[in-house]
Symmetry: D3
């Protein structure tokens, strides 16, 4: 079956002939790598090539926050933030896919489930708790953000590079949550069983 033959969202399926060949090659390479490395392909690769250049830009942007060099925070902490934000926004797609990622990183499915339900019930270090509390407040009460947020994160031990990155990560999931829910993206059902 072709890469765009199945319906994974409310939107029309991408037409392969409308995708610039270099981008199509890039997407295919990503799919190959995901399959090899994770055993599951993110369905966004079947949906977002509808707007291929914007999809490529989204991938680049995401990699800039979630690679392991040139970033400041621990990957586990950033995925943890992702679950807290996505839980406030009730984003099924993001909770399904990122809980898979975090299970892979931590080998701790119980902890990950707890984060998807309510981070206040999860065992967290003081620093993790500060990140989660910040993520919750900035997501749910954005109009009430004050100077205090930076103060509290500094008090918890974060430096300003990390705080800036944390705020980008909170923002990132507030971005993905919106469009993923809007377009009705269906997560690959393999995520749910993965790493359990």
């Amino acid at each position: 079956m072709g890469m765009y033959d199945e319906q994974w969202s409310y939107l029309e399926k991408p037409k392969i002939e409308k995708i610039p060949p270099d981008l199509q090659a890039y997407f295919e390479e990503n799919v190959r790598k995901q399959e090899e490395k994770l055993g599951v392909v993110n369905t966004l690769f079947h949906i977002l090539p509808l707007n291929p250049i914007q999809f490529k830009a989204f991938l680049d942007f995401m990699y800039s926050l979630f690679n392991t060099k040139n970033t400041y925070l621990d990957l586990v902490d950033k995925e943890m933030i992702g679950l807290v934000v996505s839980s406030v926004n009730c984003c099924n797609y993001c909770l399904t896919t990122h809980s898979d990622t975090l299970r892979r990183l931590t080998k701790n499915p119980v902890w990950v489930d707890t984060l998807t339900y309510n981070y206040r019930s999860a065992k967290l270090t003081k620093k993790q708790r500060a990140l989660c509390d910040y993520a919750f407040r900035a997501t749910k009460y954005p109009d009430e953000i004050t100077t205090k947020e930076v103060d509290l994160l500094r008090e918890a031990g974060f430096n300003d590079h990390e705080i800036l990155e944390a705020s980008f990560v909170v923002g990132f999931f507030n971005y993905t949550n919106r469009w993923v829910s809007t377009i009705g993206a269906i997560p690959n059902p393999k995520h749910n069983q993965n790493q359990r």
Copy 2:
């Protein structure tokens, strides 16, 4: 005065020697262009080089949504969405800078002010109203997003490329609003007088 000598946020100022030279050159070029074209430099150029690679990624990502080729929606409509989202989230920085942009695009400062206060009071085409209503709901009630959003946008006359882009744009401002408010970015006061 040097590019990073003034304090424009709660965060520590970037140190020029920590910024890769090619990125520093890129940022300077952007600043030059802004000054020439708009007569005002966005203060993010004084703040975000603290995490230079992530700043570059943010710029690339933004340009992918707000250039005029390879995008589907009208630039005015996307800036309008930006004001609606930023108004729900009460983001001073984003409302200040993007109302300047939209004044420049429309030469209609009254309309732009109205959008920053309450889009329901602004004169809008049916299509614009559908975009604004969608932006409002997806921002304020993200957990209640249903199939209806795509249906309503289609009924208003948008195709699926445009709907996907609209959802990205709503997401984009939900992203910037969070970190801009967190780090206390101070907008360049020139924005307020510009294009009035």
Copy 3:
């Protein structure tokens, strides 16, 4: 290890000598049955005998709603309602334990995960969707409940016995969610892996 030797909540542990012998026997029998039938014991049996008579009353009350005779709605539908309500209230304990139950009943862990994240993303019959929508509204906006709720459930095909039971079930989880979150009950980690 004794039944009350481990700390499963913020509250002090029950003292076996303070529990009326008949109730202690009843609780033990329940534990035995759970272990046999489900392979996992609900930790409430280690916590709630602190107030033994009220715990017994809670069990009786729960059984009156979730047995299979003298009830009107399908058990799957009632557990589904439970996940919707607990998801609105972000109750980690209830989401963990009742998703185990619903996986056992349906053998469909993907569907169950979706219900814990956002029921709007789950495949639902028209009748199930009506139940979930009702459960959401009555939980999140109780002050805005009107005549419409009964009308909508009837239109979806439910009779008045079922509607009354549905309203009791929505109420039931709004009850458990409150105290379970307050006392910090820790779910048995076996639930998370069960039925996956």
Copy 4:
């Protein structure tokens, strides 16, 4: 007039022949006792026998929390909690009937009225204020419940038996409020004049 001849809710009236005789006798006895003791019969006795076994279970459950032996908190304090919870949820039936109960218990109709409108305006002991604040927060912001709730109640002087019971009582009214509002139960108008 027969016990089920009047319409006291949106639901169809119970049919006496569908109620097991022992339960019918039990309900009648309850009605007799209420009339004798309180001079007013709760209309739930005309409504809930539609699902007779569940009604019986509800009564047993309620009595386990609101009798005077085998419970830990003062009855006045539990009825006070009931008014706070029902006021947040705007449940007309519960506010009408339980304010009658609390007037009978306290002979202080002014204090009771205040609790139905806003407990913050009522004269409260420190312990009562702690209970009311807890009831408000757990009802309105269930997702934000943290360890602090138990800490604050302990600081106010409550032991763990009482805290567990308080959390059950808060839960109980969050349960009744939902179904009572859904089915449109009309309180007996005698409650309003009673004990004034």
Copy 5:
């Protein structure tokens, strides 16, 4: 006892020598009339002369909306709106005093109690329901007011004089609710028993 000897709010008591004599005479005359006509004096007469000229202006403003000539809506309907607004804002003082007024006007204490708890449970004409629904929405979701409000009120049968007055009345109680709650005004306990 002098008119300002008792403490009826959090604020300091008015000093009679600071009140212009003509205003003091005017306040005393009002108090006399209230006592004669209603048998109960509103405690605001003991509190608000702290700022005497503003108190006089408030009285004039109130009379302009609640007299019976030169107004358009029925007094009962305006007091009904007052209870709906005050119930959303949980204003103890306003609910206590205006439910007394509405009992006097309607001789229907059950109906009035219902309005203070949840107007959706009260018997209302179509026109009254439209007023209450409008009052609720404009009070709780002011940012979401649209053209629809005027349309719905017109459809219900109100003319534009009445709609304008209704919007003033909704506003009026949103005004009093704020300062009455802030200053902790204690209603005269006679209101609670009055007209029962």
Copy 6:
């Protein structure tokens, strides 16, 4: 063009023959003064004479709070409160007209814009910050107002005359915001350019 010939709201236009001559003269005098002093006439003078006596009462009431004698707080601070309240309620008309007023008083359009977007981003004295925080909380969470509000304002240095006035001002804008949004009043477009 006559004073009532243009359509400035959803409501029908006032008919000059229905306005008592003395009031019509008073309104005209006000219009003349506004034009002279401010160069812009508030469109309410074209709308509200529909209910002429109530309009006059509104004007008197407003002048009692916003004149400069017989009031206690600084005019700038009261207009600042007005923008905070109107921003929470998203009232386009009030934000447009009162930001014009505050620009005239302060000659600081940047500061004024910031207040319309999010007062937390504005430079404020400690006393101003206390007023703004109070205005925000009393507007958005009226049911949660406690004794603390008066305490915090006193700690910030306000006396009880000022606190009472502040609470009236917060109330005042909660009043105007409701009806102005309901009737769809269109602000005079001259306000937007004025004092920039």
